[in-house]
């Protein structure tokens, strides 16, 4: 794949005229997808896709094309020539872009992962065999993910990863289920078995009659997967310089009023600890770590090159959306083994669902509990809880009502496959909160 991208770069270089320049971002994957329902296969297949985003630049003017590549030399050569000609024609119709910024310091980087993935048929059989007799539903996704960046200035950046992700649930009945995932670089039968055994254990509790709660205030433990959903919602502008400068950030109170979260809350974009490439689409490096919130106070935004130019500050290599790719929330001091005793009475929430803002400037978020959410009494899990809606501000949930973060953290691979397989990861502890507001 890298060799093919090098050929594309060479062909693009030959197509340039005069003082034209190009920036080329490549993303490609070969992914196996097997979808399961009731322990059997619903749909299965392979997707091979190669995308090129090509920016043709002349002075302060530029236009972009996003196209699929075939991966076959003759087809791609013709398509590249036609695309460059079309972009060149359009260049004369666009005005100068005052916010254009791209890396003018060429650099070279190569990160090649090893392919230790199982053969598709073997993975399919391992899952189907283990799921026999269970109401198992979910998706297995595995394969290569390639990212590249090159420019006529000499950038030559490449990243390849080979990962699998089995995102699945075991159902008891109706909406009562345990959700978990098994992801990584090498399929380990013992590791999968441990995950499966944990899910079976929780499934046994789900067979008890559910507790239906009234709206009100409850102590709660929020497991890392549920917290991940909440942080993803915060990232809708929460860490974006553009959203801050245009006052659209949900963390507006932090910048306007100096509002703070819990002093134990330190969140970073930890590129060094994730799987996403260490470069972005204008050729800038992504620093190893950007602290977004430090000891509860707002620190730095993610700054794309475009925002950097618009607002006159240096970029820190963020992608255009200015959202984190590698969340890292500092661990706390509470051992996982103390979660239930310290919760004593309340909700043990494994997953949230469908979060959205009910008042964005005040960072008030609503959402549902989902999957295995349990009622805890006397420091022990008693029964599943029927799904409930919460409506709560981040300042309460992650601030004044947050009492502890767990010492252990969970590494979460994002299972998102919109357009392509996600490279977003999160390393998160669980949270113990004094008061979660349930509304419906």
């Amino acid at each position: 794949m890298k060799a093919r991208f090098a050929e594309v770069t060479k062909e693009l270089r030959a197509l340039l005229r005069g003082d034209e320049a190009f920036l080329a971002s490549f993303s490609g994957e070969e992914a196996d997808f097997a979808r399961f329902n009731r322990g059997r296969v619903r749909q299965a297949g392979t997707v091979r896709q190669l995308f090129l985003a090509l920016d043709l630049v002349k002075g302060r003017r530029h236009v972009t094309a996003q196209l699929t590549l075939a991966g076959e030399r003759e087809q791609d050569r013709a398509r590249l020539a036609a695309t460059v000609a079309s972009l060149r024609e359009r260049l004369s119709f666009v005005p100068e872009d005052p916010h254009m910024l791209y890396s003018t310091d060429p650099w070279v980087s190569e990160s090649l992962g090893a392919n230790r993935l199982p053969e598709a048929g073997a993975a399919l059989e391992a899952i189907r065999g283990r799921g026999e007799g269970f109401d198992l539903v979910g998706i297995y996704a595995a394969g290569s993910m390639h990212s590249g960046f090159a420019s006529s200035l000499g950038h030559d950046l490449w990243s390849s990863r080979y990962t699998f992700h089995f995102d699945w649930s075991l159902y008891h009945e109706k909406d009562k289920a345990v959700k978990t995932s098994y992801a990584g670089f090498t399929w380990d039968a013992a590791g999968f078995e441990r995950k499966f055994a944990w899910a079976r254990e929780q499934l046994a509790v789900l067979s008890k009659p559910p507790v239906t709660l009234s709206p009100g205030h409850y102590r709660a433990y929020i497991a890392p997967a549920a917290l991940n959903d909440f942080l993803e919602t915060l990232s809708w502008g929460g860490f974006s310089l553009k959203a801050h400068r245009t006052r659209q950030t949900p963390l507006l109170r932090m910048i306007e009023e100096g509002a703070k979260l819990h002093p134990g809350f330190t969140l970073a974009e930890n590129t060094a600890g994730g799987v996403a490439p260490a470069f972005q689409a204008q050729g800038f490096p992504r620093p190893e770590r950007v602290e977004l919130i430090g000891r509860g106070a707002y620190r730095d935004c993610l700054i794309s090159p475009r925002s950097a130019k618009e607002y006159g500050v240096p970029t820190n290599g963020a992608q255009a959306s200015e959202t984190p790719l590698s969340y890292d929330l500092a661990a706390g001091t509470m051992p996982q083994s103390e979660v239930l005793p310290r919760l004593e009475r309340g909700l043990y929430i494994n997953n949230f669902w469908y979060l959205n803002y009910s008042d964005r400037p005040r960072c008030r978020v609503t959402g549902m509990t989902r999957f295995a959410t349990f009622w805890v009494e006397n420091g022990a899990i008693q029964a599943p809880v029927s799904v409930m809606r919460f409506d709560e501000t981040a300042y309460r949930l992650l601030g004044e009502r947050l009492s502890a973060l767990t010492r252990e953290r969970e590494f979460i691979f994002d299972a998102n496959t919109y357009g392509g397989r996600s490279q977003v990861t999160a390393l998160l502890p669980g949270l113990l909160v004094e008061d979660l507001t349930l509304t419906l």
């Binding site: 329902n37 619903r42 749909q43 997707v47 920016d55 872009d97 048929g121 009023e257």
Partner: protein
């Protein structure tokens, strides 16, 4: 790549099995935007690829590829066959129940003013003008006007000679004004960002795009000074641009047959609707009439055939409040033993078809807008969705809108900010008290409906009038 070249390349060495389909998708798109007076990077996209699906010995497999050469398609066919063999005897459905594709035909969107009829410079000039008119005051801190056009062509071929060629033009216009004063930020958009249609630039005239900017800017400013929406149980009048969200989330998704059959339980969720409810369950008041209608000219999900090749027909899904049929395609219908609709749809060449909404519309009633307002003693009118959340069974929901207006003693009075409401799908539609007439009808839709594993983003259409509901729990913002 053209459909003809694809067909020739594929048939040089078709899949080595008796039953297969091949689906080519070519999308050419252009995204133009002007933000704060600055033309944003212009993006043109050309996305072409094909999915080959093979049925063999009781198994089914697919391979999608952007390599459309004879060799690339041959390799894809062989890989799909390998998947069919791997899945044989392990499927949760029987491919023999799916009728082979034999239909032949064409479908084409109409565009009175084709996208290319206005040159790039003219489109940018128009967006510059609209963007400038959004900034009606210094407190407008961000403003943007954009157009997203897609020319999409699909060709579906089948082993039994089926050949369906469809060619669509999609247009998504957007206007956005953000107003701020200290700790308060309010946003107004062109119908909540949910205006996706088929057609050309004439769609902009029909939707009032060219005159909307000053109103959107002014309303964003007005919201800065507005009080919070009051809390309490009251009557709720929903504009068409919120009704589409209400229909989408609490009728459309729960009636998708693949959810009811459990396919989506690990991701998009299940449904409070069960198979035994069809034909007997009272979904809403007698005023509720919902149709699946892929034949509305200009609506975003109009088509002649779905991606399995099933001919698309208008069907009542709910009539006089009674639940009649699910949104289930041929495969789901066979699994459930129920009649459904032609809604096997995929987001592109690299994803397999699943049950989706297409155009799911509420039929107009006979109430004028003024009459619905006049019927309310204490209530609220809400416009343009900006927040949506619903449980995985599609029952407990909470939705928020950009703008609310109090209704007091039969009159619209004061604007309020942060209007939200919550309810339960299974009972909410029974409180439907009046349905607006054709004068309140809008043909809208969204290009961003997410579902499926692997995930897919889909264009879905909703045409709806305004509607009045009794006794709904509403509330505003603030911590």
């Amino acid at each position: 790549m053209t459909p003809e070249i694809f067909e020739r390349n594929l048939l040089q060495s078709p899949p080595r099995t008796q039953a297969w389909t091949a689906r080519l998708v070519i999308e050419n798109e252009e995204w133009l935007a002007v933000r704060q007076g600055v033309v944003q990077p212009i993006v043109a996209g050309e996305n072409a690829g094909a999915m080959i699906t093979v049925y063999d010995a009781g198994g089914m497999g697919y391979t999608a590829t952007s390599d459309l050469s004879p060799a690339g398609l041959k390799r894809a066919s062989e890989d799909a066959l390998e998947w069919a063999r791997r899945s044989a005897g392990r499927l949760c459905w029987d491919p023999a129940q799916l009728a082979p594709l034999e239909a032949r035909g064409e479908f084409r969107s109409t565009a009175a003013k084709p996208w290319a009829s206005l040159p790039l410079s003219g489109k940018l000039e128009m967006l510059q003008d609209h963007c400038a008119r959004l900034k009606v005051g210094e407190r407008i801190v961000d403003h943007e006007a954009s157009l997203w056009h897609t020319d999409a062509e699909t060709l579906i071929l089948g082993s039994r000679g089926g050949r369906i060629h469809q060619h669509f033009q999609f247009l998504v216009p957007e206007l956005r004004a953000v107003a701020n004063r200290e700790g308060e930020t309010q946003t107004r958009t062109f119908s909540g960002g949910r205006v996706a249609r088929q057609g050309g630039l004439e769609v902009l005239d029909e939707l009032g795009f060219h005159v909307a900017a000053p109103r959107i800017g002014s309303e964003a400013l007005e919201l800065l000074d507005a009080p919070d929406c009051p809390a309490g149980r009251m009557d709720l009048l929903l504009a068409a641009d919120q009704m589409i969200l209400q229909i989408h989330e609490s009728i459309g998704h729960p009636l998708e047959l693949d959810r009811i059959l459990g396919d989506e339980r690990n991701y998009a969720g299940t449904s409070f609707v069960t198979l035994d409810m069809f034909g007997s369950y009272r979904y809403g008041s007698k005023l509720l009439n919902i149709v699946f209608d892929p034949g509305v000219p200009g609506q975003v999900a109009s088509y002649g055939w779905d991606d399995d090749g099933t001919p698309a027909r208008r069907e009542y899904v709910i009539r006089d409040g009674l639940l009649l049929r699910p949104l289930g395609s041929a495969v789901s219908q066979a699994r459930a033993g129920l009649q459904g609709v032609a809604n096997a749809r995929s987001s592109g060449w690299n994803r397999p078809p699943i049950d989706r909404m297409a155009n799911l519309n509420l039929e107009p009633g006979n109430s004028r807008f003024e009459d619905m307002v006049a019927a309310v003693e204490r209530g609220i009118y809400m416009e343009s969705n900006n927040s949506w959340s619903i449980d995985d069974s599609r029952n407990k929901f909470q939705f928020g809108c950009e703008r609310g207006v109090l209704i007091e003693d039969g009159r619209l009075t004061r604007t309020v900010k942060n209007p939200n409401y919550r309810g339960i799908s299974a009972t909410f539609w029974r409180s439907l008290a009046a349905v607006g007439d054709r004068s309140t009808l809008k043909v809208l839709g969204t290009p961003f409906c997410g579902k499926g594993e692997p995930n897919q983003i889909m264009r879905v259409g909703h045409a709806t009038p305004a509607a009045l509901f009794n006794g709904v729990e509403v509330f505003g913002g603030a911590a």
